[in-house]
Symmetry: C2
Subunit: 339 residues, 2 copies
Amino acid sequence: MADSRTRRPPTMNDVAQRAGVSQTTVSFVINDRSDISISDETKERVWEAVNDLDYRPNAMARNLRSSKSQLIGLISDEITTTEHAVQIVRGAQDAAWEQDKLLLVVNTDGNPKIKNAAVRTMLEHRVESIIYATMYHRSANPPAPLHGVPCVLLDCYAEDRSFPSVVPDEVQGGRTATEALLAKGRQRIGFLNNVDPIPATFGRLAGYRAALEAADLPFDPTLVKRAISGSSGGYEAATELMLQPDPPTAIFCFNDRMAMGVYDALRKLGRSIPDDVAVVGFDNEEPIAAHLYPPLTTVRLPHYEMGQWAVNFLEEHAGADAPPIQHVIECPLIERASA
Amino acid sequence: MADSRTRRPPTMNDVAQRAGVSQTTVSFVINDRSDISISDETKERVWEAVNDLDYRPNAMARNLRSSKSQLIGLISDEITTTEHAVQIVRGAQDAAWEQDKLLLVVNTDGNPKIKNAAVRTMLEHRVESIIYATMYHRSANPPAPLHGVPCVLLDCYAEDRSFPSVVPDEVQGGRTATEALLAKGRQRIGFLNNVDPIPATFGRLAGYRAALEAADLPFDPTLVKRAISGSSGGYEAATELMLQPDPPTAIFCFNDRMAMGVYDALRKLGRSIPDDVAVVGFDNEEPIAAHLYPPLTTVRLPHYEMGQWAVNFLEEHAGADAPPIQHVIECPLIERASA
DNA sequence: TGGTATTACTAAATCGTATTAGTAATTTAT
DNA sequence: ATAAATTACTAATACGATTTAGTAATACCA
């Protein structure tokens, strides 16, 4: 018992010896090679020996010839204090699992040294492909050696479009959020946008405007405020928005953290949610969105789906050159009670 | 360029040929074997060839003989909608990195089939050890084949103590939270506990009582309420607590989500935080704790540290039998503005 | 001056599997 | 009845590294 982990694991040869056949035969039986005939008794003897010895093939030895490691690398570029990273890993892993592959995860905390070392180590392990993920949608500079292996960027893109990438559909997300508010009969819809010059900021605004336009509503610049995307920014911007003449009857917030501040502001002003003012957030940060009162209607970022898509895309283009397309994934509406 | 990924990667033999030396020599140079003498010119020639060919050693081939895969398995048992999983992975990975090892991550979503398959696949890849993690502190039933490899349980423990494990120090956490409130001069401290029969529930209560006792304060059962650990549970329990005669001047909440509800209740009752009532949470769920107003003082679960500890522990006991100890890690106080 | 050390290398074995090329015995086809 | 095909296996090789055991040439020492 105690020495079970110090003893060398059984090899195919051990199995062969116990079953009284050649190692080759064991290999054929184990891999169930239908193009080679093995008698049923022999098969049985082999499987018995396999079970007796608790034999497990050595993946390193198996993969040595084919150079197919059955490993997919996942590099996440930054620290994240959200569950988003988990969702990416889950999506990627679930898809990898379908292909009997495992995920090699390294998180670089933005450190370029680690970033390069991570790619190097992964290449040494002969990963079949690499997913390079950032934790919010942005432009990225993946390390050059990545070009040596099939690779997709996740939640980011290379300025020069030298890699395929998957990103959330920010425009559709902004539009969906706005439409959810419109569907509740709101006409004056405020938008509290972020200040950072990132795709989310531009895209969601574009979506907001597109939704208004589609509903034949004018775009009113006084209804759009920009603030740092946290609860205090949301609090202040919402207060400002509501104290204007002709305040909105609905507010679309750049993210859920901002929405938290909006809730506080509205409560302070004595407005009820959603009766006086409907609110929609973005990100679907569970701990916030599900636990605010009333629970926050929001738009979810498709992290799980992006992870899934990345692995499947890489599989489809295995061996060949993956076209450097930019794939966009829908951000679904999560309906709760605030709209 | 385009065929760079279809071409077979260069081997040590390719390097040897280009440098005009034997493959053995290349191996010696690359591994910088100081016990073997190689002339400087030769070394230089070899490194030149390595760079020219962009040679990277094949980890599978290298590790085949030693059966040291440089891989550590991390199995996470459940879906989580928190950042906790990320912290575990980060801690484990940072520690693994120090040892030039990589993390193989599988998340089983609680599915026993996947759980077993994950262990099997990891063993086939000859992981050097496995970390089996759950997403909240509880008793667990890890799959039997885990006994075949050095393993530690993270955030959980085996009823029969057959595995070493790391868990948060719930008692100290509860005590720390209570003491933080006592340090602010509060004497009547309420505790909104969870209802689930899990270590966190028992431990934090014990810590709360220990802190009171150490401060020579009586334990008043009317100050302790139990509720489902979400914001609505927190809201109701806090309301009930505050409407009692002689209500508390401070509330320690089982977790941050509950604290969110407590904030709402206190606001509704016109009590200010922290002046009228100080609040302390648990878990340090960033999106909540940092974005509530005022920002929530809370106790952090040591997920990062547990991941780190697990990897280091496994390294220390590499090869040998790891003693099935239960290691407990401190939950630090995160001071913000609510206490 | 002969013997031992040291330097600078190389040939060959090895790890555990998959695959290729056989071989001997039996069955089928003509 | 004999050639051809099929069945049921095995021996040997390859994958890409590390390691062991050597070898030839030069340096050192008594």
